[in-house]
Amino acid sequence: MNWNIVLAATIKWVFMVLVFGLGVAGILTWVERKMSAVIQDRVGPNRASILGFRMLGLFHPLADAIKAFTKEDFVPDGANRVLFFLAPLIALVPGMLAFAVLPFGPGDNLVIANMDSGIIALLAITSFGIYGATLGGWSSNNAFAMLGSLRAAAQMISYEVSMGLNLVGMFMVFGTLSFSQIVYAQGHLLGGWLPEWGIVVQPLAFILFMAAALAENKRAPFDLPEGESEIIGYNVEYSSMRFATFFLSEFFEVVLIAAIVTVLFLGGWQIPWLDPKGIAGGWIRVLQVGAFVVKTLFVIWVMMLARWTLPRFRYDQVMKLGWKIILPLSLLNILVTAIVLAML
């Protein structure tokens, strides 16, 4: 075994997943509250302070963490303890693994595992996330949690199909399954001016993928598994750090999905119309990674905006949307793409 590779992978993992992924997810707990407040013309959290510094309420995630660590870790009577303890981890870990295949920048160094079958691997890994919600709800020995987990299972399986099918169009256009190569391919300018981003060549797929991804993520308007107003959802029996883990995994998935969307549809680290030769040495890398981060954050912002704008769907509407609209449209998209490609 080549220890250098392991070491390099570890270092990359720490930076990409722990620092970027978890860091952003942590801050997102604050952003979510602050953003919802501002959208609703409120001020939002601003009270937690250290030595009188309030920092716009940025200490609230910190206070939450302390609270989560010090609260009672409650396990309900009759719960399946093993699964009950494992479920939050099962929810969090697949997201962390999925980051391995996403390129943060050009070359092999800015991606943990530059796999040729990156997209397939990603789909395979993220499918695991569903077990977290389902097992968590099932093992709680609580009717509401059970309902939540059933909803989660049905909803995520339904949308996973469309999610995969939407990517098929991408393979067909770019002719590869590797994320890195897809990003390289998006560097072309169509007709000399229009960047050949996924969103340009596959606009319908972008919209459908976004919708399906939101549904996978279990956030409003697809937050039925949680359904705070009716059933509280699969995590109703969870408390303290275990609840925080579920909470964090949700935000972590937000970051993950934003990163995937960036890579596939928004050109990843590519900066269009920029001539890389004009910039000296390493700085171009910094700029490109920066571009990736900025694009990712923008997608997160859009997802948040959707979350605080749209009301929750009814359950039958969710199913109808998934199976009767998004799925046929995805198939249509593949068909059209195939026809267009054949004609070109």
Partner: protein, 172 residues
């Protein structure tokens, strides 16, 4: 004539049925508020409570107070009108007798049980003497014991002031 604003039921069109345009419209509204909020902050309506206080409305019904006569005694004549009107039966009065022949009666004990009071203001309306009022501009502060929730004559008189009303009516 009551003015009725008739709101037409929106007729579904193709563009609303596709939903996408409506989603973007809604997100546009959210985005507008977002940018207004983080730039000008003028549209934010939150009151930062302990530092910033909103003035009480003119007719705010707060802590009761018993009004005083010129000599500092309570105007109340223990007529029990307030206790009779009170829907939550929270006023306890015990009448005492005083020398002076035109007033004769005073409340030896006047107690309001704030655990029961619903701040309806009926007592104020019922009082024939303008003796009890709720315009003290003060909230009733919750207390830790049942006993502390009873406000007696002294607490209520402390908030009291002089009344303009002439006691006993115009020609007495």
């Amino acid at each position: 004539m009551v003015k009725v604003k008739v709101i037409e039921r929106p007729v579904p069109t193709v563009s609303t049925e596709i939903y996408l345009k409506e989603v973007l419209k809604g997100m546009g509204v959210s985005a507008k508020h977002f940018f207004q909020g983080i730039t000008t902050q003028k549209n934010l309506v939150t009151t930062q409570y302990p530092e910033e206080k909103r003035p009480y409305p003119k007719r705010f019904r707060g802590h009761h107070r018993l009004m005083k006569r010129e000599d500092g005694s309570a105007r109340c004549v223990a007529c029990y009108m307030c206790a009779t009107a009170c829907p939550s039966h929270c006023i306890t009065i015990e009448a005492g007798e005083r020398e002076e022949p035109y007033i004769q009666k005073y409340p030896r004990k006047f107690e309001i049980d704030y655990l029961k009071c619903v701040f309806c203001g009926f007592c104020v309306d019922a009082c024939p003497q303008d003796a009890i009022r709720m315009d003290s501009d003060k909230h009733r502060i919750p207390a830790y014991t049942r006993q502390d929730e009873m406000a007696g004559n002294i607490d209520l008189l402390k908030l009291g002031g002089l009344s303009q009303a002439r006691q006993g009516g115009k020609w007495s």
